[in-house]
């Protein structure tokens, strides 16, 4: 018996380049830059911090049942993006309440601003003065739990903490739950908030770009830290058809592996292996892929390893490879989830998101990075790369639903 197809019927997103799906689409089409001087985390001791923050975020607009003051910024993002995704999918809160709908959310830093605040208490008053309420709110599981609680869902509620590929992990897990018949609808994606800890770490490593992130550019100088959330509603095809829901695209499969090599430096052979795993799982060949949404952080180590791995699998003529991190920065655990939404928008609207801030090709990368301007294109199948500290690689594959139906 053939398994059910799994499709995407709703999406919601918050990032520095848009507080909803329409804004995200327009930003990806126009090549919008999301960076601004930092305002939402403690930057004491640093000069002129520029990063990619979510602007004019009003949690009351999205959160109805949970007291706002009981939620950290990342949980607020998670609920907000979920609310938008559910509305987009045509699912009402009343219809969902009490259902065993699973929630699977990826993150790097969880409730990072609360953890920052606890560290500040430690410095100023001492460890014995930590507030139990803040400690409880700072636990990572709150990202998924806050969604389950707000919408009254009883399905599994897990936070996947595999750092910067966590969004893809979380989507992959939801895909499996639907494939095995554990549910008909799943909420998945990723969320993170900018924080002092992560900015300081990358700053100390010398990998923070001064003013702009330039993936695959000869003059790149690092990452821009960012924040946001990307939530996708995954659904079995039969459930989507029964509801007459709009079907954005199909989740074709995904691949996971581990470099088992170095905590911070990526490994080319291992990344290439992960690409092949994802292709096998999705039952596609490299020549089927029209576009690769890169991990593309804008560090030399990532860009050369990633483009090298792509060439190992695709040969001399890989499809276009762009990095949306040039626009919205590195949103950590949300990155591959927001990138998944970008992939689906690329399929839905038949265009390739650009790599902005591009000046000079890096010959060591030798790829078509869709420089500076989005490009109309036939986009049927896309590959979305997510890599992380710990060598945690996760790659998802999405395909146009209607076109594939016609082909088969």
């Amino acid at each position: 018996m053939s398994e059910e197809k799994i499709v995407i019927t709703g999406m919601g997103s918050l990032s520095s380049i848009g507080n909803n799906l329409t804004e995200l689409k327009e930003a990806l089409l126009s090549g919008k830059l999301g960076s601004k001087p930092a305002t939402v985390f403690n930057t004491e001791g640093f000069d002129s911090v520029v990063n990619c923050e979510v602007k004019t975020f009003n949690p009351e607009q999205y959160i109805k049942y949970t007291p706002i003051e009981s939620l950290g910024r990342t949980s607020q993002f998670s609920i907000a993006a979920t609310k938008m995704a559910l509305e987009d999918a045509g699912l009402t809160s009343t219809a969902l309440k009490g259902q065993r709908i699973p929630v699977s959310i990826g993150t790097t830093d969880g409730e990072s601003q609360h953890l920052d605040a606890l560290a500040k208490v430690w410095v100023t008053k001492g460890l014995s003065e930590l507030d139990g309420e803040l400690v409880e709110q700072s636990t990572a599981s709150n990202l998924a739990n806050s969604i389950s609680k707000e919408f009254g869902l009883t399905g599994e509620s897990i936070t996947v903490s595999t750092a910067c590929s966590a969004g893809n992990y979380a989507i992959g897990h939801a895909f499996d739950l639907l494939k095995t018949g554990a549910a008909n609808i799943a909420i998945c994606g990723g969320a993170d908030a900018v924080c002092r800890k992560t900015y300081s770490g990358f700053h100390r490593l010398g990998t923070i770009a001064k003013d702009k992130c330039q993936p695959f550019d000869l003059h790149r100088n690092g990452i821009m830290t960012g924040e946001g959330a990307g939530i996708l509603i995954l659904e079995t095809l039969s459930s989507a058809l029964k509801r007459k829901a709009h079907i954005y695209a199909e989740v074709l499969g995904y691949g996971l592996n581990c470099d088992a090599h170095h905590m911070v430096s990526p490994n080319m052979e291992s990344v290439a292996r992960c690409i092949r795993l994802a292709h096998d799982n999705a039952n596609i060949s490299p020549e089927d892929v029209d576009y690769i949404c890169a991990h593309g952080t804008g560090t030399i180590a990532n860009d050369t390893t990633e483009s090298g791995a792509i060439r190992m699998v695709y040969g001399e003529t890989p499809p276009p490879v762009s990095s949306i991190k040039s626009m919205l920065g590195h949103t950590m655990g949300a990155a591959s989830a927001i990138a998944s939404i970008a992939c689906v928008l690329a399929i839905e609207n038949q265009f390739l998101p650009p790599t902005i801030n591009h000046e000079v090709d890096d010959p060591a990368c030798n790829i078509d990075c869709v420089p500076n301007k989005s490009r109309p294109a036939k986009v049927n199948i896309v590959q979305n790369n997510g890599f992380a500290f710990g060598g945690n690689n996760a790659i998802t594959i999405y395909g146009a639903y209607q076109q594939r139906e016609k082909v088969s």
Binding site: G45, G110, D116, S141, T180, N257, M263, F389, N392
Partner: protein, 348 residues
Amino acid sequence: MSKEIVITALNCVAPDSLTVNSETYSKNDESQFYKTNFDTRAILGKKGTRSMDKLTGLTVHCIENLLPQVQSQLEAEPERIGLVVGTAQGSMDSIMRFTHETLAHDSPDYVNPALFPNTVMNCAAGQSAIWHGFQGPNATISCGEISSFAALNYAVSLLTKGYVDTLVAGGSEELSEVNIAAKTSLAKKHNRFAKFTEGSAFFVIEANDIATKYQRPVIATVNSVKTGYNPVINDATALTELIEQALEEANMPITEIDMISYSGAWPQTVEVEQLTLNKLLDDSADTITKIAQYELSGNAVSSQNAFQLSTVIERLAPNQRGLLFAQDLKGNTGVMIVTKHGVTGDKL
């Protein structure tokens, strides 16, 4: 479950108060915090451990003791063995200490960059893969005090779908300076003198045909594992329904269960766990052995369910069945049903 999933090895690192089949260390009995005297550099050696935090050290070490069971497979197909670590918050100590250092000195750059990778929650999983060479899927799952059930559930999902042949899955918890302070504040908030435990427990878990292929005797079959969420945390309905679904999947009436283990970690959650038991069992079920893990070893948070599983596997007689469940303060719920096999050996 569409494949028979089995446990073929387990290891537990815990304070000696823990009555599981563990490698033991003496406890620190000055407080309600039961710490191992685990010293990363003394146990794992000086190479590659200079910057390693305790959570990662415990995890690397706990898994190291399972390596003899999987060595031939690891040499032949390292990409077919993976790792799933349940941890509620990674090393909270490493995370907050790093930020503390950026605030405590004249410049935020006066931090040790080698400590930055410790501040991501997947550090223990990533380092364990590096140390032991597991190239398969490597996941870190955070689900509060249900993190180990969630890790095992995630592992079963990957195994069932064939992404990997064998997974080492379980949970780890450290009691470092910051964690102790954080847990003290939590106990204060909930008005309770609480016992917390650190430690790590991991299981080799795989489909039965893989166990046969590598000639690993089966210790227990996993008949079901599920996690869920209870939006009304003092109501037993969600937890009861989750357990009923697990019993249905295992195709077992509750009367066929020989031993029941629950977490018992907090007064509020014990109440829900007890209510659930009352709903599930009628008076005739008094003969079933019931174990509250908290009474045995305190609250091991991320490792709590992994300790429950260790305890149940140790205490079940061959062919007996165990039902394990728990709910945490946030409303996370989990359940697992296992059948012990007729394994004999030093450890069991």
